[in-house]
């Protein structure tokens, strides 16, 4: 097997592979920065919770109009936003920690979703929603994920500064009137939108893996937010490409294959990472003797 067979042929010979690659690449670009901010906000499990929370909305969409992308996506977005905003509002109104109130709402939402699916559908439908199917990416699905990635990139660029300040120093942000509820809400809205947009190709749960693992891995390679965002997006893109090839050549499910590749990148970064990786900690370089030697 030559390099052409290994890397190019699957995409040249099969349209579904090209579609899958474009969908995954678009999602990687949209979700890469979001994962970084979730990690920085200490909300790494938020994506997972939202991924579960969209289920009842998707199920209702499915019950009303069958396997319609738009109905299921709209339902998913509504359910995800309701859970995210309700938990945010509850924690602000009662002082309950946000992760705690989110856990409460998403568990209820997930149970409701499973209940709805079991009333009308079968376990196979449920698996499709949660884990996706790369063969299923149609024109609408492709357009949707690309449009969301575009919107996401534009919005994140616009709210980048208040978003960073809010993560970094919330008291300072409040004292100068930076950020606030609107930044938080827009950000959570983007998380919901991206996870739902990825559900045809990856499924909402596997999409969470592509959002979070590259972000966690990137943390080991830089000490600058903007660099971390770029590194994270690159790892997500590379994981998508390699994961799709692995799934093609070894006949594995594509979503989990992509996430497993991202997981390997994460484990590699833990060990090899240039900033706080294990090797960098063990192989300490000689210390500086003069403060002026310190240059990053």
């Amino acid at each position: 097997m030559d390099l052409y067979q290994l890397f190019a042929a699957p995409f040249i010979d099969y349209e579904f592979m090209r579609r899958a690659l474009v969908a995954c690449a678009a999602f990687a670009v949209g979700a890469g920065p979001l994962g970084v901010f979730l990690v920085l906000r200490r909300m790494s499990l938020m994506g997972d919770a939202i991924g579960h929370a969209v289920l009842p909305g998707v199920a209702v969409g499915y019950m009303i109009s069958g396997l319609s992308l738009w109905a299921m996506s709209l339902g998913g977005i509504v359910a995800g936003l309701v859970v995210a905003l309700l938990s945010g509002a509850t924690s602000r109104a009662t002082g309950l920690k946000e992760d705690a109130s989110l856990a409460g709402f998403y568990l209820a939402s997930l149970a409701l979703g499973v209940l709805l699916v079991s009333m009308r559908g079968s376990a196979v439908d449920l698996l499709h929603i949660l884990f996706g199917s790369i063969l299923a990416v149609d024109d609408d699905g492709l357009l949707f994920v690309v449009a969301v990635a575009t919107l996401s990139t534009l919005v994140i660029s616009a709210i980048y500064r208040p978003l960073v300040v809010e993560c970094f120093d919330p008291v300072f942000a409040r004292s100068v009137g930076a950020g606030g509820l609107w930044v938080h809400s827009i950000f959570l809205g983007l998380v919901v939108l991206n996870l739902v947009a990825a559900f045809q190709a990856l499924g909402t749960l596997m999409a969470v893996g592509v959002m979070m693992l590259p972000a966690l891995a990137a943390r080991f390679w830089s000490e600058d937010v903007s660099h971390i965002v770029v590194v994270s997006t690159c790892i997500a893109l590379a994981s998508s490409l390699v994961g799709l090839l692995v799934s093609f050549h070894f006949e594995l499910a594509s979503g989990p294959a992509i996430v497993m590749v991202a997981a390997v990148a994460y484990l590699t970064s833990i060990v090899m990472g240039s900033r706080s990786g294990l090797l960098a900690r063990w192989l300490r370089r000689p210390h500086f003797h003069d403060p002026h030697e310190v240059k990053r």
Binding site: V165, C167, F168, G177, A178, E223, V294
Partner: protein
């Protein structure tokens, strides 16, 4: 010069209905350098937060002379900042340009230059591009002071600015506070060390939920006033305890 920049009228701030600041009235004059002193639990930090508009005032009012508190500069006590956050000293200091840049405005070369000048003023030359995770506690406090200078505020509120730093840093930072005073800025600082207050702060507000005394430091920090302050705080602690655990009838 002698015009109040901040006037409090019968200000009460409560947490869960227990007052933390009680019937505070008085004025901070423009350009005054005031120490906010008092025992633990006297409501000093709460009063600063109320002046910043970060906690709501239950009764009374704070007259800021039409200046939004978002134009004040505020240094909280040991800020809840994740020191492993991936951001450099320069970027941290540049945040002080917020009153001018806002969320979307550009930050040009002039602001960059100012930020470098602020970093130099606090003695962190050479550390501009260092990640904040690499700074010691004293250097970190210097970086936060650089951000305060960058904010260029007329009113500066400091909560225990020297609590976690060594003597050398304290005297360098105190020199900056004196510069602000000389520039006519109004500075209010929560402080514990009476020696520092007596040496550097012309005015003192001694707080024990109520105002015990407010005026020239030598007239405020008298043994009698200090004793009254500590007695007052103890009484409040007992009252709060009774409030939380009512005696059986």
């Amino acid at each position: 010069m002698n015009e109040p920049v901040l006037t409090l009228r019968n200000v009460i701030v409560t947490y869960r209905r227990v007052p933390a600041v009680h019937h505070v009235s008085g004025s901070f004059q423009t350009g005054a350098l005031t120490a906010l002193a008092g025992p633990n639990g006297a409501g000093k930090s709460t009063l600063l937060k109320a002046l910043m508009g970060l906690v709501p005032v239950s009764e009374g009012e704070i007259d800021r002379r039409g200046i939004s508190p978002q134009r004040y500069a505020y240094l909280p006590q040991q800020p809840e900042i994740d020191r492993s956050f991936p951001i450099s000293v320069l970027q941290t200091v540049l945040l002080g340009a917020w009153p001018r840049s806002g969320s979307f405005g550009s930050i040009g070369p002039d602001e960059q230059e100012r930020a470098h000048a602020c970093i130099a003023k606090v003695g962190l030359t050479g550390y501009a591009s260092a990640p904040i995770a690499h700074l010691s506690a004293g250097q970190w406090q210097r970086a936060l002071f650089a951000r305060l200078i960058m904010q260029d505020a007329k009113v500066i509120l400091l909560d225990e600015p020297f609590a976690a730093v060594d003597d050398a840093t304290t005297s360098d930072l105190m020199a900056l506070v004196k510069t602000w005073h000389a520039e006519g800025r109004t500075v209010i600082a929560v402080l514990h060390e009476h020696t520092v207050i007596e040496r550097f702060f012309p005015e003192t507000l001694l707080l024990a939920r109520d105002v015990i005394a407010w005026g020239p430091t030598s007239e405020v920090l008298t043994p009698g006033n200090l004793q009254r302050a500590s007695a007052m705080t103890k009484r409040w602690a007992i009252e709060a305890h009774r409030h939380a655990h009512p005696a059986p009838v």
